[in-house]
């Protein structure tokens, strides 16, 4: 068989797949399907108690003690739950009174699995943040702050892998540029690293070296900036990276009507979600992960086509050389 024929045959296989002869969505009753529930908050800003009943827009909303009940109920219903926070759990006024102790203790009490760091988490200074870490029974995950020359050295993680229902869920975290947003006296020698490069590095690492089935980015970059579309944001991040499945965002206090579904630079789906602020809303994701060892025919064919596609590229090269 010559190469030309091989390419022709493969192209037919591709055509068959792209015309939809094989449905992409597996049936929900498939025993190989596992459900992962992700609960998340962002920008809680020390809102321990519900908003006071003072006639303002948010009166009576939020509150840790009610969120605790809700989280407990979800955990009773669902087996595989991850509870995450996308930063700004602190807010300056509370820092000045209890130093952020209540916030961290409550997050531990509620069983947070991880959080990333927001700009306001430096409100009590990097030393203030470090002092509260002893109350945390969950890791702070931040991949693009280099704390080497600070008191936070070795106190955060660039990523963490959670094993839920036999699947590997990789989580990494991105913080916003601190310069201009937070006084230097507060963040000190923290070095900000480029979010896109950092994200790509860790997402690829988690997917391919650590064999993660699902990659989550906890981001405090902000959803998007209308007036500065080029400014790094979750939207910019999503479009310019690959291997991220879900971006859990914060900073812009965006109440999203529905999650934003975009395509990454490889044309694969990536989803962004954010839930406003102050713990008014708790997001609950049920991601139905279909990661199977007993691959179904359609998966084998899709995967096969991808491999062939890659091979083709090299074959062409060889052919023309």
């Amino acid at each position: 068989m010559n190469r030309r024929n091989f390419i022709k045959n493969s192209a037919y296989a591709g055509l068959l797949l792209s015309t939809g002869a094989f449905p992409l969505h597996a049936a929900a009753s498939d025993p190989d399907i596992s459900r992962l529930t992700i609960l998340h908050t962002n920008d809680v800003h020390s809102r321990i108690e519900p908003f006071p009943m003072d006639g303002s827009r948010n009166q009576g909303l939020g509150g840790v003690a009610k969120r605790a009940t809700l989280i407990k109920r979800v955990r009773e219903e669902q087996k595989n739950v991850l509870l995450l926070d996308a930063g700004d759990f602190f807010r300056v006024r509370h820092i000045s009174i209890f130093g952020g102790e209540v916030e961290i203790k409550m997050m531990s009490e509620l069983g947070y699995d991880a959080a990333t760091i927001g700009n306001h988490d430096f409100d009590g200074g990097i030393d203030g943040l470090q002092r509260q870490l002893k109350h945390a029974n969950f890791p702070l995950i931040i991949s693009n702050y280099d704390f080497s020359d600070t008191i936070m050295h070795d106190q955060t993680k660039p990523y963490k892998i959670f094993k839920k229902a036999g699947k590997r869920i990789g989580v990494f975290g991105l913080g916003i540029e601190l310069n201009g947003l937070v006084p230097k006296a507060l963040y000190k020698e923290t070095v900000y690293l480029d979010p896109i490069d950092t994200a790509q590095k860790w997402a690829t690492f988690l997917r391919h070296e650590k064999n993660c089935d699902y990659v989550i980015c906890l981001s405090h970059l902000g959803y998007k900036y209308k007036n500065e579309p080029e400014k790094i944001s979750d939207v910019v991040l999503a479009k310019n990276t690959s291997e991220i499945d879900l971006i859990i965002g914060g900073h812009t206090h965006t109440f999203m009507r529905q999650p934003d579904r975009l395509q990454n630079k490889d044309g694969k789906p990536v989803i962004i979600n954010q839930v406003g602020w102050a713990g008014i809303i708790l997001a609950d994701w049920i991601s139905i992960l279909n990661v199977t060892k007993k691959a179904t025919v359609q998966h084998v064919l899709i995967s096969l086509w991808e491999k062939i596609h890659k091979c083709l590229y090299y074959q062409y090269l060889i052919y023309f050389i």
């Binding site: 597996a26 321990i48 003072d54 006024r93 009490e109 989803i271 049920i286 139905i288 995967s303 491999k307």
Partner: protein, 245 residues
């Protein structure tokens, strides 16, 4: 033909190694409202001691108020007092002279300050937002634009040394420190970050030169009231109208 099947076989084996696929995503969200979920008593019990301590802190008497101050438009005793405090306290933090201070009307959250003790709690009620104070350098023409916007909403809290008249939604006869507004002059204006960042339709302020005092508006009020108490003074508001209908 043999070679063809060999390639297929290799690819097949590779593809069986790991097949990854997110089949479906079902986002939901829970809004935590007043009556939506019962409180978790265990968590509530852990919060309680902090609440008690917080109450103790919030009940601190910062100062005394002799006469009821009310909030209103275009000028009022409460809005005058509030803006004057911002000017005085901002001036203490910056070297260059600050010409005047403004505060957005909606940012003051009480309709009146009753006579009697003024507690820290009261100040939080009055100013619950964590706005920080900026000093902006505004050209005279931008000040005119700012005052026109204020005129459109029939008056905002504005500090002493500013006087203008409302005429069909515009600011007329503007005087700053007794002098008519000079369109070419640069004025230094104390403005909360919310407004300076374009809040309340003030988007034209976004491009102005900014100095951040890194001090909360509320903290300025607190400092001012504590100082009054230390000096044995009570709150006194200047009731002279600054914006005239």
């Amino acid at each position: 033909m043999k070679k063809y099947w060999f390639v297929i076989l290799i690819a097949f084996l590779f593809s069986c190694g790991k097949v990854y696929h997110v089949a479906e995503v079902k986002p939901r969200s829970y809004r935590i409202e007043k009556a939506s979920y019962p409180v978790d008593t265990k968590v509530a019990a852990k919060i309680e001691p902090y609440k008690l301590r917080l109450d103790g802190i919030m009940n601190e008497v910062l100062s005394y108020n002799d006469e009821e101050l009310t909030k209103g438009k275009p000028s009022s005793s409460l809005t005058n007092w509030f803006a004057d405090v911002l000017l005085t306290e901002t001036q203490k933090l910056v070297q260059d002279s600050v010409d005047f201070a403004i505060q957005n009307y909606g940012g003051i959250r009480i309709s009146s300050l009753p006579p009697g003790e003024v507690t820290l709690m009261k100040v939080y009620e009055m100013m619950p937002f964590d706005n920080t104070m900026y000093v902006l350098e505004l050209k005279g023409e931008t000040v005119q634009q700012l005052f026109d916007k204020i005129a459109e909403s029939e008056g905002w809290p504005i500090s002493r040394n500013v006087y203008f008249e409302l005429a069909f939604g515009k600011a007329k006869n503007i005087k700053i420190k007794g002098q008519p507004l000079s369109l070419d002059k640069i004025y230094r204006v104390a403005i909360p970050d919310y407004v300076a960042n374009g809040g309340d339709n003030m988007s034209f302020l976004r491009d102005c030169k900014v100095h951040d005092t890194h001090t909360l508006v509320r903290d300025m009020l607190v400092t001012h009231l504590r100082d009054l108490k230390a000096k044995g003074l009570h709150i006194i508001a200047d009731k002279t109208p600054r914006i005239i209908n």
